[in-house]
């Protein structure tokens, strides 16, 4: 949690005027498909936060395969989201993972470039935009 604190503080300082209904992602947006699988007792899915600042686009990434893994914050070039394209690389096991796909004000749709199945086994990471979640509350899968 301590590692996330600067990011959360920055979010709190952002203007609240998040425009909806436009294709481009707003200044800050949070996307998630995380759910709780009651049969296995596991959290599954991925959550991504995107914040556009003048110097860079900051992307928060965290996935859950049972429980949440280590959160990561990476910086992308300022125009990384131009044209609704999204591409980023995270540190991962056994080697870095690269995601490619699209981003809009409503959803992120990405795939792993190595053809991985993803936490939900579909191969597609389809994250819908959400309000920042109340900690520890997730919908049923």
């Amino acid at each position: 949690m301590r590692r996330l604190l600067p990011f959360l503080v920055m979010i709190g300082l952002m203007p609240c005027g998040v425009a909806m209904g436009q294709s481009a992602p707003p200044g800050f947006a949070f996307y998630s498909d995380v759910c709780y699988n009651s049969q296995g007792g596991d959290l599954l899915g991925t959550r991504i936060g995107v914040m556009k600042l003048r110097d860079a686009v900051y992307l928060f990434y965290q996935d859950a395969e049972g429980i949440f893994g280590e959160p990561q914050i990476i910086a992308l070039p300022p125009h990384a989201l131009a044209g609704g394209k999204l591409s980023f690389t995270i540190a991962d096991f056994p080697d870095p993972s690269t995601f490619v796909g699209t981003i809009s004000d409503r959803a992120i749709k990405v795939r792993l470039t190595n053809g991985g199945v993803g936490p939900k086994g579909t191969g597609v990471f389809n994250l819908k935009r959400e309000a920042l979640p109340e900690e520890g509350r997730f919908p049923a899968c």
Partner: protein
């Protein structure tokens, strides 16, 4: 694990045992059908593997290797849980959870400063 290794499947586990308190924190979902305290993670019979990067053919091989070792895959649940692998010992799960929790606590009590 040896079978996965011989098949060149990169295998690592994210989590195994979760006590009931942790399972309840994880769940926190009033709409879930099965109570979280019935999870096989709380009996020490389930693990969660890193599977998201596995291509489908490699995941299939991992699942068949696990099945050959008597390990079931959560991807076959009615609501699939791909990272989840378990051995269900049967019997009364609530009793097993209580017994395992007590055994874990007894072990913790033997570790100074735990």
């Amino acid at each position: 694990m040896l079978a996965a290794q011989s098949d060149n499947i990169p295998l690592r586990f994210r989590y195994a045992y979760r006590d009931q308190a942790e399972q309840e924190r994880l769940k926190h979902d009033p709409s879930a059908i099965t109570p979280a305290d019935k999870s096989l993670h709380s009996t020490g019979n389930a693990v969660d593997a890193y599977v998201k990067k596995l291509p489908p053919a490699m995941l299939s091989k991992l699942v068949s290797d696990a099945a050959a070792a008597g390990i079931s895959w959560g991807g076959l649940f009615s609501t699939p849980d791909e990272p989840h692998f378990h051995v269900d010992p049967g019997g009364n799960r609530a009793q097993r959870i209580n017994a395992f929790s007590q055994a874990v606590q007894a072990l913790k009590d033997q570790i100074p400063g735990y």
